[in-house]
C-alpha cells in the first residue's frame, strides 16, 4: 500500500468519524463545533479530487459561514434542548431507521463502485470554447458563461432567502436592524481580532475574486471571505448590522442578479442571444458581472446569518 493511499484512507476515516460525532454528539453545541471541523476536513477531500474551487467554497461557506450561523442558533436554543430530549424515538424505531440508512448507503456505494471509468464528460466541450471566454479557469467559465442562467437564478435564491428570513420579524421590529447593537465597551480579545483580520481578509477576498478568472477562486469564494470579515466586525460588536430598510443595503442585495440579468438580456442585442457575450469582450464583461455578484454575496451571507430584525427602528 502506497503512502498516498494510506493517507487517503486515513482522511476518509477521519471525515467519517467527525461526521458521526456531529450526529451522535450529546449536545447541539458540540455537534455544531464538530460540523465546522468536518467542513474543513471535507475541503481536503475536495482538494484530493482536484476540485480546488469546490474546496475553497466548502471551506468558506460549508464550514465557515454555516458554522457561524449554527453556533449562534445552538447557543440561543440551549434552553429548549432538554425538552426536546424527551422526544427521542424508541430503540426499535432507531434500529429500523439504521437498517434503512444502511440500505441507502449500500445502494449508493454500489453505484459508486459500478461507475464506468472514464465516465461521461463535458470537459472537452468546456475546453473547446474556453478561449472564446478569455478565462483560464474552466469552472468560472461554466458558472458565468456556459451555465449563466443557473448562477443568476442562484443569486435570486439568495435574495429570496433574505426576504424569507426578514419576513419572520415581529411587526414592531420591522424596519429595524438585526443582531446586537454596537457595544459601548467591546470585548477586548474579539475587538483586537476584528481590527487585525479585516484589512488582510478584504485583500485576500478581492484577490481570490480577481484570480478566479484564471486560477481556482471566483466571486463565490471571494465574496464569502469578504462576508466573513463583516461578520467578525459584527460579532465583535465594533459595528452593527444596518436596518433592513436601508436603501443601500437593498440595492447591494439585488445588484448581483440585476446586473447579471441586464447583461443576459443585452445579449440579444450585443451578441447572439440570451446570456451570450459579444466575441472579444467576454472577459471584461464577465469580470464586471462578477464584481457585482461579489458585492451581493458579501452582503447577503452576513444578512442571512444576522437573521430577522430584532430591534425597533430608530425614528
Amino acid at each position: 500500500m502506497s503512502v498516498r493511499l494510506a493517507l487517503d484512507i486515513g482522511l476518509a476515516l477521519l471525515v467519517f468519524a467527525v461526521a458521526a460525532r456531529t450526529i451522535f454528539a450529546r449536545g447541539a453545541f458540540e455537534a455544531v463545533v464538530d460540523y465546522v471541523a468536518y467542513g474543513l476536513l471535507l475541503s481536503i477531500v475536495w482538494i484530493r479530487l482536484f476540485a480546488v474551487d469546490v474546496a475553497l467554497t466548502e471551506d468558506a461557506i460549508g464550514g465557515g459561514v454555516t458554522g457561524v450561523l449554527l453556533i449562534g442558533a445552538a447557543a440561543r436554543l440551549r434552553s429548549a434542548e432538554t425538552v426536546a430530549a424527551e422526544e427521542t424515538p424508541s430503540g426499535s424505531l432507531r434500529v429500523f431507521a439504521a437498517c434503512l440508512c444502511l440500505l441507502v448507503t449500500a445502494v449508493l456505494a454500489g453505484v459508486v463502485l459500478l461507475l464506468p471509468d472514464p465516465g461521461p464528460t463535458l470537459a472537452p466541450q468546456a475546453a473547446e470554447h474556453l478561449a472564446e471566454t478569455g478565462l483560464g479557469n474552466p469552472v468560472t467559465a461554466v458558472l458565468i458563461a456556459y451555465r449563466a442562467v443557473d448562477t443568476m437564478l442562484e443569486k435570486v435564491v439568495l435574495v429570496l432567502a433574505v426576504v424569507g428570513v426578514w419576513s419572520l420579524a415581529p411587526d414592531r421590529f420591522w424596519g429595524g436592524a438585526p443582531g446586537e447593537a454596537r457595544a459601548a465597551r467591546p470585548e477586548p480579545t474579539l475587538a483586537f481580532l476584528a481590527q487585525v483580520l479585516p484589512p488582510l481578509g478584504i485583500l485576500v477576498g478581492i484577490h481570490v475574486f480577481w484570480a478566479g478568472a484564471n486560477e481556482p477562486g471566483g466571486a463565490f469564494q471571494g465574496g464569502a471571505i469578504l462576508a466573513a470579515m463583516w461578520l467578525i466586525l459584527m460579532m465583535a460588536r465594533l459595528t452593527e448590522a444596518p436596518p433592513v430598510g436601508a436603501l443601500w443595503l437593498r440595492l447591494a442585495l439585488v445588484a448581483g442578479p440585476a446586473v447579471f440579468l441586464a447583461f443576459g438580456v443585452a445579449g440579444f442585442v450585443m451578441a447572439s442571444g440570451f446570456f451570450s457575450y459579444p466575441p472579444g469582450f467576454a472577459k471584461p464583461l464577465i469580470l464586471f458581472i462578477e464584481a457585482f455578484m461579489l458585492l451581493t454575496i458579501a452582503v447577503t451571507l452576513p444578512m442571512l446569518v444576522a437573521g430577522p430584525p430584532r430591534r425597533e427602528p430608530r425614528p
Binding site: 479530487l49 454555516t66 445552538a74 429548549a80 464506468p116 470537459a123 461554466v142
Partner: protein, 114 residues
C-alpha cells in the same frame, strides 16, 4: 481503489449517516445539521463524477464542480432560512420542537395557563 472511488464511498456513507440523524434526532437544529451532511455526501458523489470525467487536460470535469459550488451556496441559504424559522418558533413558544401539539401547550408544565 482510487481516491475518487474512496471519496464516492465516503459520500455514500455520509448520506446514510445524515439520513439516520434526520430521522432519529428530534431537535430541529440537529435535523438541519444532518440534512447538511446528506447534502455534502451528495456533493461528494458529484465529485467522483467530476473526477471520472477528467479529460481535455482538466484533472476533473468542470461542469459538476460548478454545480456543486452553486449547490453549496443554495444549501447555505436554505439552512439560514430553516434556522431563522426554528429561532422564531422558539421565541414564540419557548420550545424548539416539530411536534404538532407544541403550539397548544405552554413550555413549562402543560397546564394551559399562559
Amino acid at each position: 481503489m482510487t481516491q475518487a472511488t474512496l471519496a464516492g464511498l465516503i459520500g455514500a456513507a455520509l448520506v446514510g449517516l445524515g439520513l439516520y440523524g434526520l430521522i432519529t434526532n428530534p431537535q430541529p437544529l440537529r435535523k438541519n445539521l444532518a440534512f447538511n451532511l446528506i447534502g455534502s455526501g451528495v456533493f461528494l458523489i458529484f465529485g467522483i463524477f467530476a473526477r471520472k470525467g477528467a479529460a481535455a487536460g482538466f484533472p476533473a470535469d468542470p461542469v459538476p464542480q460548478a454545480m456543486v459550488i452553486t449547490g453549496i451556496v443554495v444549501a447555505f441559504a436554505a439552512s439560514a432560512l430553516a434556522v431563522a424559522l426554528v429561532l422564531r418558533l422558539h421565541e414564540e413558544t419557548g420550545r424548539a420542537t416539530l411536534r404538532p401539539d407544541a403550539w397548544t401547550k405552554p413550555p413549562s408544565d402543560g397546564a394551559g395557563s399562559e
